[in-house]
């Protein structure tokens, strides 16, 4: 029973780690990877907590949610990657320019 919560905590940890990387790193590819780590964390939380009750089979609804989430994440990553390549091609740099004066 308790190992389920271990996985869920791991998921939370991944989420926060990914968030940290998203905020800190200026390189666009790192930001995209950080988003992927964050989403992995969320999926882990979803799936881990679906097996809390040991006598029954795990709850399939979070599993379906995660499958949907993975597909959405793949699509978004694909779009982000091509945008990154295009920004690189247009500006010659790999980082988004500073936001400048607000």
């Amino acid at each position: 029973m308790s190992y389920v919560y271990l996985y869920a905590l791991l998921g939370v940890g991944l989420f926060v780690l990914g968030l940290n990387a998203l905020i800190i790193h200026p390189h666009m590819l790192r930001k995209i990877l950080a988003v992927n780590v964050m989403s992995t964390g969320v999926f882990l939380v979803l799936v881990a907590l679906s097996s809390r009750n040991e006598e029954v089979l795990p709850d399939p609804v979070p599993h379906a949610m995660v499958i949907t989430g993975i597909v959405v994440s793949v699509s978004a990553t694909a779009l982000a990657l091509i945008l990154m390549l295009k920004v690189n091609r247009a500006t010659g740099k790999n980082e988004l320019p500073d936001r400048g004066r607000d």
């Binding site: 989420f15 968030l19 998203l22 666009m28 930001k31 995209i32 988003v35 964050m38 989403s39 964390g41 969320v42 939380v45 979803l46 907590l49 679906s50 809390r52 609804v61 979070p62 949610m65 949907t68 989430g69 959405v72 699509s75 978004a76 779009l79 982000a80 945008l83 990154m84 295009k86 920004v87 247009a90 500006t91 988004l96 320019p97 936001r99 607000d102």
Partner: protein, 482 residues
């Protein structure tokens, strides 16, 4: 006739129609423009049909697949969703007409499928009653919006699109984690069922925080507004209009729904925080708008400022406050779309949108100037316009509840808006030689801006009807009237 109107499940048609239109435009790019215009018209007709249904039968709930919550996904339409759908359909039609003249052939082939999918995502979002379904619609909305922003040429557009995409993804993931917490602690994904089962607990608090953070990021509430001005200003004009008018309001709608149904027991401190951030947004956005030298950036910062008003309703919490915020949403959507279209016309005529050079262009575009001025009236909150009604309601709420400081913010915001609107409009009345190279702007583009601006004035003159519609299904709870 009534039989047709009542028998058809307009809820479903509203979602399937734009999706089908988008697919058709993708398959047959040669006729995409006509297909797009047709679909936008059809969506307006369907909203009309749904409105009829709602007025006759009250709020509608549709169980997809026949399963019903909590097993399946439910669609739900009440006054609040109807108002959002109507705004989206109306502004959407205007944008479709505007875009039919705006884009060149190859850009148009990419624009129409993406635009129709965005319409479909908006409709699906406004009608959904399932928090995970809302996540999928949010992602659909975000990806189409990013792709549309990136249609503009130039490094600036690409950079702002990239930033917008990253912010969207961050917001969606916060939201999804909140959904995970909500589901695992309460056992359902349906909003109505969650409302019944909601109880304060650490998981609930975490969910509230996560979901709100994610949605506030997408709604660009200060201080998470950093991505908005660049994205809205660098996008192609019709896309800027969509973003400011509809896309940021979609996440606000979700936040409103969650707040009204699931989160009421969270307490007032969080509401005060949101109100405070809203007030900061109003002032900060207004000040920044004053400092801009380019017209589209000014309008984008004006969006940041106006979005702040929407959050003043949270600490006020009364029915009249919610209606005021919703009316503000409605008028701002139409007015901002008109403003961006006007700016686009000026850009198309003169080649750039520096405010200092406006006088030489604008003398050739009387319709556009009228549109901008009328829309500006609503942004300032002058009667007769939708913005005035909205501010009046919010003011009334702030006085009734004794929290008069929000009223002060309303007035200060109006003052700031007046200054930056007059900054633009004033250039009309200065004498300057008309630029010789001004290009002709298609009549369609000018007229769309003007028609939308006139709608804002109508919203100010005939306010009782939209206000009555909002109350169908009493989304704001049984409360005081007024």
């Amino acid at each position: 006739m009534e039989l047709i109107l009542e028998g058809v499940p307009w809820i479903v048609v509203l979602i399937i129609l734009p999706l089908t239109g988008g697919m058709a435009c993708f398959l047959f790019p040669k006729i995409s423009k006509s297909l797009g215009l047709l679909t936008s018209l059809a969506v307006v007709a369907c909203v009309w049909g749904l409105g009829w249904q709602l007025i006759e039968e009250g709020a509608q709930r549709y169980a997809i697949g026949g399963w019903g919550a909590p097993l399946g996904i439910d669609l739900y339409a009440d006054g609040l969703s109807l108002v959002m759908l109507a705004v989206a359909a109306l502004v959407g039609l205007g944008i479709s007409v505007y875009s039919s003249a705006y884009f060149s052939r190859d850009k148009a082939n990419h624009f129409w499928p993406l635009w129709l999918f965005l319409c479909g995502a908006l409709n699906a979002l406004f009608l959904s009653s399932d928090i995970f379904n809302l996540y999928v619609t949010l992602e659909l909305l975000g990806l189409t919006a990013v792709a549309l922003v990136a249609l503009a040429d130039g490094a600036q557009a690409l950079i702002s699109a990239m930033r917008y995409l990253l912010v969207n993804l961050m917001g969606s993931l916060f939201y999804l984690l909140g959904v995970a917490f909500l589901y695992h602690s309460l056992g359902s994904l349906d909003i109505a069922i969650l409302a019944q089962r909601a109880q304060p607990s650490p998981a609930m608090w975490a969910a509230v925080g996560l979901i709100s953070t994610g949605l506030l990021l997408k709604t660009a509430l200060f201080p998470m507004h950093f991505w908005l001005p660049a994205a809205h200003a660098c996008a192609p004009t019709p896309v800027s209009a969509v973003l400011s008018a509809l896309v940021v309001k979609a996440s606000f709608y979700i936040l409103l729904r969650m707040w009204l149904e699931i989160f009421p027991m969270v307490g007032s401190s969080f509401a005060q925080l949101m109100g405070g951030l809203g007030a900061a947004a109003v002032l900060w956005g207004g000040v920044q708008a004053l400092r801009q030298t380019r017209l589209k950036m000014l309008i984008a910062y004006s969006t940041v400022s106006q979005l702040g008003y929407l959050f003043l309703a949270f600490p006020l919490g009364m029915s009249v406050a919610w209606r005021g915020a919703l009316y503000m949403l409605l008028s701002h959507a139409v007015a901002k779309a008109a403003m961006f279209m006007a700016a686009g016309n000026i850009l198309a005529a003169g080649g750039d949108d520096r405010i200092a050079d406006l006088s030489s262009i604008t003398q050739r575009l009387p319709l556009t100037l009228t549109a901008f001025s009328l829309a500006g009236m609503s942004i300032m909150g002058l009667p007769p316009s939708g913005g005035f009604i909205a501010k009046w309601l919010l003011l009334e709420a702030s006085i009734q509840s004794g929290q008069w400081w929000w009223g002060v913010i309303l007035l200060l915001g109006g003052l700031l808006a007046a200054v930056y609107v007059f900054k633009v409009v004033g250039h009309v009345f200065t004498q300057a030689e008309p630029k010789l190279e001004a290009r002709a702007v298609p009549a369609r583009m000018e007229w769309t801006a003007l028609v939308l601006a006139l709608v804002v004035i109508f919203l100010g003159l005939f306010a009782s009807w939209p206000l009555a519609i909002m109350e169908i299904g009493s989304p704001f709870g049984e409360g005081d009237s007024g």
